[in-house]
Symmetry: C2
Subunit: 328 residues, 2 copies
């Protein structure tokens, strides 16, 4: 069912039908009613792609994330999709994986679809390969990088200040009387180094830098468990642990539970990222609210403003807050 079909049935031209669909003036009320009825009857819906062709506006936005199953990413993507839809945009969500090559491939898909803007979710997109690709084929559309930053004229970065966040966690543990605070993390991503920096800054504030204990672990599920085990074998005097991810904290707590170590009396534990694990764990985990919904909202708004020709600051910083629970 096209406007031509409708036009034929109504005995008018396609342009008239188009006018009515787009609520344009200059149509006799009578004709308007007649055609509106026909549109209803055949429940006609305009082809948004054909529309995009002539209007040079596909109303399509690409959302790239490493993995939709990751709850941080999906929490952010959810807000973005909803918000953009309010403004009439349709989102193409792609799992771009953790390899720069796959990211580039995904960007290519968005390029073919002629998206009007892109949202990259996660600091993993902040890499040279992606930057190069964006520079060579995405210079004329706005790109928002959630939790990262790229120095390109059309790229906006929304960042969460993980440094200050983790510093606050150190402060919290210090306030609880803990003086031997360890940090368990899987180093490698930019995000992890920012957290590390926050840890060190926190220690420095209390002249505890020499007590610094960092346990580097892998990305596997049991990392928190094995990391905590290793930690206590080497540094049995530890009384506070900051884990770079809630899931690690879950593993650490499991080890402490099994070892009959009292949480938080003997050892206080904190996670980071306010994931679903924190609340369900026993004891529940103190964590850092990483403001994913807020970041998503900010990302969506920034993109829309840019699409409307309004320029915003190219680097926006949000501040995480501590969610204190039983584990501290």
């Amino acid at each position: 069912m096209t406007i031509y079909d409708i036009a034929e049935k109504a005995g008018v031209s396609a342009s008239t039908v188009s006018r009515i669909i787009n609520n344009k003036p200059g149509v006799k009320a009578e004709t308007r009613e007649k055609i509106k009825k026909l549109l209803e009857e055949y429940n006609y819906t305009p082809d948004e792609n054909a529309r995009g062709l002539v209007k040079k506006a596909t109303k399509l936005i690409g959302i790239l994330l490493a993995d939709i199953r990751n709850d941080h990413h999906s929490a952010l993507a959810y807000v973005v999709e909803r918000k953009l839809r309010e403004y009439g945009y349709c989102s193409i969500i792609l799992n771009a994986g953790y390899e720069p090559e796959m990211m580039v491939e995904s960007i290519q898909v968005l390029e073919q679809r002629k998206v009007e803007g892109i949202i990259l979710v996660g600091s993993t997109f902040q890499n040279a390969v992606v930057e190069k690709k964006l520079k060579e084929s995405m210079l004329n559309i706005p790109v928002v990088l959630a939790n990262g930053h790229l120095d390109l004229p059309n790229v906006y970065g929304i960042l969460v200040d993980e440094i200050s966040g983790v510093r606050q966690l150190v402060e919290l543990l210090y306030a609880k009387g803990k003086r031997n605070i360890a940090f368990i993390a899987s180093l490698g991503t930019l995000s992890s180094y920012r957290k590390l920096q926050g840890y060190e800054e926190g220690l420095k504030k209390y002249n505890l830098l020499e007590q610094k204990v960092i346990i580097e672990v892998g990305m596997e599920k049991e990392a928190g468990y094995t990391g905590c085990k290793k930690l206590l074998e080497r540094y049995p005097y530890i009384d506070g642990i900051i884990c770079a991810e809630d899931l690690m904290a879950v593993g650490a707590i499991r080890f402490l539970n099994e070892s009959n170590i009292k949480i938080p009396e003997q050892i206080a534990v904190s996670g980071i990222n306010n994931s679903i694990y924190g609340e369900s764990c026993y004891p529940s985990i103190t964590t850092l609210d990483n403001k994913m919904p807020e970041t998503g909202l900010m990302a969506a708004e920034t993109l829309i403003e840019s699409l409307n020709g309004i320029d915003r600051p190219h680097k926006i910083m949000l501040f995480p807050t501590i969610i204190e629970r039983e584990s501290t």
Copy 2:
């Protein structure tokens, strides 16, 4: 950059460029090379939407789920998106919410985008309002309903046999010596009734139907905790609990932990759905693997086959398996 621009630069016609892009024969090797170089140089990418217009094939698929943040949904959607992309399809993922009206609205978006097929994720889409909408405007494209079924010629249902799954859980608890097995659930969805049926069938097998104890709870996070509390106040002799969702089991286990009740010695607990909570809980939770990735794969394959004109059974059943952990 269009094929015309490239054609002009090469001094040939647009059709020749088109032939090369689509690897069609009948082009002099020399011309082919020359134009290929130009395509590279200007890194031309065809407009997939314009292509869709003329080929009457958008290569677009719609994935509707209630909420991308729900880990069952995203686990399924992940597989589907990845698989469809392998076949050159691009996915439009929409959060359609839990209200039928919002679902219809989302279907409308897909209609405008002229998607070639739809995947509905979750039994919540199995309702009269959605069925009506599909019947009136989506009759000519294949629709796959993951975890549900609708009796329409173009709708395929992939189902997970929750009934047999929960029955197996009852059998497991029975084998562990438990004879007073309760069921905590938030009734209302089709899925929840299937689980309930499995519970009852399991009890019936051992002539325990009269010991049936059902605690109905809400959808809130603390449902498992409060439900378990209520359960033990009224039925203190209970020695086995099946929770309709892992998250409920987490809450229940928290209550049992706080009450110093030994798991599984005094009370064994099982969840359902194999979510991330189960493994991280202490003790870890026995649960039902609801085969989300497998369902997703099956859904994607069914859709693709149907798109290729191959008919498949309209109702496919997958069978969940028990993942036994510490809580039983």
